[in-house]
């Protein structure tokens, strides 16, 4: 059975920590970091990278277009 493995890259300086990607992710891959970017926003990052299947839900809803998504079929 083919399996999809994904990963995201967040532009942490553009991220405003709005949390919408965290809510959109169906696999609970993303959370807001305890660290903040230079503007003081707690940016989004992967806390559970193994669960990501590259569905791009996070990137679709991101108002800052700060998420890039990669996916491989293995």
């Amino acid at each position: 059975m083919a399996k999809l493995i994904g990963s995201i890259k967040v532009d942490i300086q553009k991220c405003k920590g709005c949390d919408l990607c965290v809510i959109a992710c169906p696999l609970d891959v993303i959370a807001l970091s305890k660290d903040a970017n230079s503007k003081g926003y707690n940016f989004a990052h992967m806390i559970n990278p193994d669960a990501c299947n590259g569905c791009s839900a996070c990137a679709e809803v991101c108002p800052e277009a700060s998420i890039t998504v990669y996916r491989v079929r293995v």
């Binding site: 553009k14 919408l20 791009s56 809803v61 991101c62 108002p63 800052e64 277009a65 890039t68």
Partner: protein
């Protein structure tokens, strides 16, 4: 089981989603979670997909989106408050081979610009109107707009909008759909992945229709203004689903081209 590491996956060959190239790299001035950002992104996606970056002219409004011209790398004009459809009329008539769109809030389109909007649509100008309806005047601090829901609190209706005093919420797209000059009217939202994808298709259709010279296309995006509504972005989305969608139901209102 997963013997690939992140560096193997994060590789241009495996790219499935990236920011379009029409949207530039400037950080947007919008509040965290604002719907404007998502709609800007969708416009960039479509302009890139249709390969019309050189032929597209946007008209920015007065309101939070007044700086839209800073973010999308196309030609822009910035109109006086509410006058975007009048300016777009002139641009489209002088340069009929361009894709011309206005980008307007509800304060801009449904209050101060009602006359310009109605008459541009009645003349059937071959433009696209992107209408961001967040139910308030966002930029100036959350005052009541004609679109504010009954009972909805704003800085100028702190106890909620009252019919007896303030009248009913105004549904402009429904009104404009009655005009023969208008070929396409749809109401969308961008609160979920599914909604974002539908909205992208609707905006694309509106751009394609505007090149057919069959009249005005209107895409309303029922939106949140989480800071004006004094809610978190997520709560604002849920509030919108529960309250806005009954007055402003999603879906196509008119499509004379596909019908």
């Amino acid at each position: 089981m997963n013997n690939m590491n992140i560096t193997d996956i994060v590789n241009p060959a495996n790219l499935v989603y990236k920011k379009n190239s029409v949207l530039n790299d400037l950080p947007m001035h919008y509040c965290p979670g604002c719907s404007h950002g998502v709609v800007h992104k969708l416009l960039g996606d479509i302009i890139e997909e249709l390969n019309i970056q050189e032929q597209t002219i946007g008209v920015a409004p007065v309101g939070c989106a007044v700086f839209a011209y800073k973010y999308l790398d196309i030609d822009w004009q910035q109109a006086a408050h509410g006058r975007a459809p009048a300016l777009a009329t002139a641009i489209k008539r002088l340069l009929p081979d361009r894709y011309v769109f206005t980008y307007q809030g509800d304060g801009d389109l449904a209050a101060i610009g009602t006359a310009e909007t109605l008459h541009a649509c009645n003349r059937g100008e071959n433009i696209v109107i992107i209408y961001i309806n967040n139910g308030i005047y966002g930029m100036t601090g959350g005052q009541m707009a004609p679109t504010t829901l009954l009972g909805m609190k704003s800085t100028t209706s702190p106890k909620g909008r009252m019919y007896e005093r303030d009248g009913n919420p105004l549904d402009m797209p429904k009104l404009l759909a009655e005009l023969d000059g208008v070929c396409y009217v749809t109401r969308q939202a961008v609160h979920t992945v599914g909604a974002v994808k539908k909205c992208r298709r609707a905006i694309k259709k509106a751009f394609e229709y505007s090149a057919l010279n069959k009249g005005t296309s209107i895409v309303e995006v029922v939106s949140t203004c989480n800071s004006g509504w004094k809610m978190t972005p997520d709560f604002a989305n849920r509030w919108m689903v529960e309250n806005m969608f009954s007055k402003y139901p999603l879906g196509d209102i008119k499509d004379t081209i596909q019908a």
